[in-house]
Symmetry: C2
Subunit: 162 residues, 2 copies
Amino acid sequence: MEANGFELENFLPYRLNRAAEFVALRFAAQYKARYQLTRPEWRTLAALGSSERPMTATEIGAHSTMHKTKVSRAVFGLEQRRWLKREEDGRDRRFEHLALTPAGEQAYRELTALASAYQNELLSMLGVENMQALSAGLLAVERAMRKRGTASPLPNPQGGGT
Amino acid sequence: MEANGFELENFLPYRLNRAAEFVALRFAAQYKARYQLTRPEWRTLAALGSSERPMTATEIGAHSTMHKTKVSRAVFGLEQRRWLKREEDGRDRRFEHLALTPAGEQAYRELTALASAYQNELLSMLGVENMQALSAGLLAVERAMRKRGTASPLPNPQGGGT
DNA sequence: GCATATTAGTTACAAGCGTAACTATTGATT
DNA sequence: AATCAATAGTTACGCTTGTAACTAATATGC
């Protein structure tokens, strides 16, 4: 009671988080329902699919901002699905070079088609101008992230998730 | 391989989610380290603190976009801390009217002060113009949310968290 | 008035998560 | 060469989460 003026609805972390959840939700429904993919698996697929060369798990984590253990589990999941294969590095056997199988590449093409369609849908929902404003704002946040470091080992909000 | 043009870095759901995590992180560190609060507890505190009247758990969930069970657990946590008290509704005993105790209000004042300071810090990190652009973009997303409904019972991305 | 549906809130359960500890391998120092 | 540090990746553990089932109370239809 006795408002000191603070309103959660105007608090940027809250607004960003809620918008992110909403926007992610309808796309996640697609890859979850149609492919039984988790979000880390989708991100891993997207990272590998867009790369010309095989990647290591650490590179995937850096590319798509995921914790080591998330990548490890996602790689395992995609491997079981036969969408990904590992190849060990001859010179340094700690590394695993990960690449999509043909089936994985096929799934990647289908999912990126869905993703692009969804992005267009968002564009028409928001309007060009608002989308540009949002993108510019996000770009500023991304610059700030690079400056102040994305926090050491990528700690996330809570134990559970969002 | 064989890029069809899709890049995760340009995908709005991904960008929003990453920005939200980054922005939330440094504030969450404050209420976690100094008050051992979880995010649902902080949101519940913020909802009750800014309300003139007591609220029900359902109202809190609607106000701060949280799932029933999250609210239930957060209320329990704040109650144990003696920051919140329940009062049953005489006319309809299904309802519980929740209000902050003086200790809860004190914590609310301290935390909103931290929140406002953090918001100002963000403003200076991003610059006024970028902050306005971001806010305008988020507003458009929020309008779209109201149109297409925040999904029925507030399902979240994954089981775990982010 | 009585059965059925609806609503507020809680809880058991399974799954995902991050931390920290672990294995395996390589690099650096001496 | 031998030790110690650093790195890639995996895994055990405890915690948080949403789903679904649950209890308790009220509303609705007949």
